[in-house]
Amino acid sequence: MSALRANLRRDMEIHQYPVLVYTLVPLAALVLQAWLPRMLGRYTFFDLPLVVTVYFALGRRSPIQGTLTGAAMGLFEDALSHHAIGVNGLAKTVAGFLAASVGIRIDVENITIRLMLNFLLSLVASAIYVSVYRVLLGLELEWSWYNELFMAIGNSLVALVMFPLLDRLQIRD
């Protein structure tokens, strides 16, 4: 259990990145998310904007930044779809906030924790998406939880590869 708890040093440690990383990585995630389905067809079981949101929220350990990053990514995704703008925004806002809030309390460098966080936050984001769509907006939407489960697994696997790569971009003292 102690391995899961962040120590004092980690509590204070906030990852810093060059400004270009803050702008280009989310943009690259959005572009790839829009482009890769053309190559992979219906096997696009990942959500890169969500993975990037979780990564920056965990690294920055600031719920406000996590909230804003999630909102921006979600709204951008909504704008590319034909659905109402804000459904994904709400889901990713909450996901970013939760990731940052969790990042303050536990060791986010641990691979297992990263995997589990991505898996759980993917499902949370999906649940918020479908709730907003059906309950808040009162719209009809067919939903497949199997798809969302695959998506959550896919996000965890992508995070497994992407997080160490992005870690290399951070500014170190």
Binding site: A34, P37, M39, L48, H82, E142
Partner: protein
Amino acid sequence: MDSFFIRYRNLVVLLVVLLAQIIGLAVQVRRVHTGSNSIDPQDGQGVRLIRLWANSLVSPPERLIHSSKLGTNSLWQNYLDLRHVREENHDLQKTIDRLRLEQAALLEDARQGQRLQALLGFQQKYIYKTVAAQAIGTSGSEQSHVFYLDKGSADGLARDMAVITPEGIVGKVRDVFPHSAQVLAINDQTSGAGVILESTRIRGILRGNAVGELQVVGILADQRIKAGEKVLTAGGDQIFPRGLPVGEVEKVVRDPDRDAFIDIFIKPAARLDQLDEVLVITSTQSSFSPEQQQDLATSQELKGPEAEAIKEQRKASQIMAERLPGLTDPNAPAANQGGVPATAPATQAGQAPATPAVVPQLPKVLPPQHPDRFTPGSAPVSAPDAIPDSATDAIPDSATDAKPKPKVKATISAPGSAGAKPSPKTQTNTTKPAKPPENP
């Protein structure tokens, strides 16, 4: 008070951001007259602006990736293609030759059909003009099956234009930007297209489901619907012209909510998940386009006399067959009659004839060695009582009634005609009323 905001600033920011988005959503959704909620199909100015910004930001990198991918692929593909280009060219030439012959043969039927349609006041819309475009990106969301084209309003694209590929329909233009356009694919949940099953003539509304499969829902259970049946556009939705291929029936399942209804799963003709080049129908007219007319004229010029000869030959064969009913055993398997295989693909209704130039061969009549009074051409019997009762009983029904068996006619009909016109069975089926389509 200040300390409260400072202490709970994270939560306050979260609530403010959530509230702003909820208000934004409320603006976009409206209650329709049926009592249910709906997203406004016409985006408001603000929403449209956000979509335009997002598109402007994502489109350039997508174009760059797409063009670089095309460049790399083309180098390799060009080399591979050149290796077989001679054989392919030869095959294509043969195909064009065959299609020209087919086109010339069917032209007269088409003209007759047009005249009849004009009499009935029905105006068939033909694809008049298309714009070729490349699919450069998608929404990236599983819940939104839309994709983006590299052409926009500057190229003549507008909302609600049909998007197709040579294989089948793909979707319709949902939103247009100056240099790109958003296309709603037919496998999206909010999409809808009027379709008709080719042989059973049952109509329905095509839509997508949660996992992007195509479905025709809410059809009254019908035993005639089988897997493999072709599905075409019905033409009543004002988007897709009539008769475009949609796909084929993959499976039929019982509607889980309503016992008397079935859901038909459709395998799309176009590869919806890996689209590259598409055609946007920018104009439909009640006449053929100049290019099509030129093509028809060329076909008629090159192959008209040949097609006419085939038609005449076919007519002569039919007349001969009607006059010689006894030459074909109606009880024999169809494959043995007249030399035309009953299972020939071209005889199936709706399918393009594989070899329209083939004329069925009639069996040759051998001269009788010992002619009697039943031999064609011999003197007729003067009085019925001249024949003994036993002899009358021995005469088969086929010989006593002079009418030819209809099966003979069906057996020797040319493949081309079977492919162009529905069979009598099909015509009977067309009278069955279809279920009124639901509003998708």
